[in-house]
Point group: C2
Chain length 142, copies 2
Amino acid sequence: MESRISIITLGVQDLEQSYQFYHQGLGFPTTWKPEQGIIFFQTRGVRLALYPSEKLAEDVDPNFPKERSRFSGITLAHNTRTKTEVDEILACAQKAGGKIEKPAQIAHWGGYSGYFSDLDGHLWEVAWAESWEFNDDGSLVV
Amino acid sequence: MESRISIITLGVQDLEQSYQFYHQGLGFPTTWKPEQGIIFFQTRGVRLALYPSEKLAEDVDPNFPKERSRFSGITLAHNTRTKTEVDEILACAQKAGGKIEKPAQIAHWGGYSGYFSDLDGHLWEVAWAESWEFNDDGSLVV
């Protein structure tokens, strides 16, 4: 198996509102429209998709439980090239209707980091550290 | 905000066992070891990380609820270049200790797709479709 994730799909309650949040609010580009039933964003590397939460559970199995706890056990991270971007992106997410779960602060590992959740509670960490290096495509040097 | 996800972190109950699952079982490369408390894999584009589930909730906020339902509301997809790879990867995941949630089958959208869950129930779709195109870095043309 190639060590590669192609798509992250977030289950959402309201596809139209979540489309607005990510497209207008955060500025994620896409040519897809909510009428098409699913949205694919032109993210770099891994693709981000939005799909109605109930349908996503049904796609796994018609009997798969659809209830979700507040904590999904998964976080998405957006790592920035500058420290000021962390504050700017958290402010942008809040303005777009997201919730600040943790204001930006010095993290125990030495970086500068905060969390917001989207309209469905999906958790995004926005973080910066002086030591990080980026490849030309924006991916992190690990 | 650049439309880019840097890292996906999966909360896991047992870092050593999950490391074995992804590293030995699925063949994801890494130089990290469980003793370091977190594992980063050298995935293409987006980075995949494993981190103890309770600590991941605490990283959001010390009071963030740690309980997780079976459905996270998030799926990760691995899109293959050939149809036979879908069966091979599902078999590999099962052999590594994963659970087949949906055997590979013709999907309603015309592709060939199945689901497995990892040791903590994180859902992976393995899918192929004739119409998909891949960039040189393995990312999907959207």
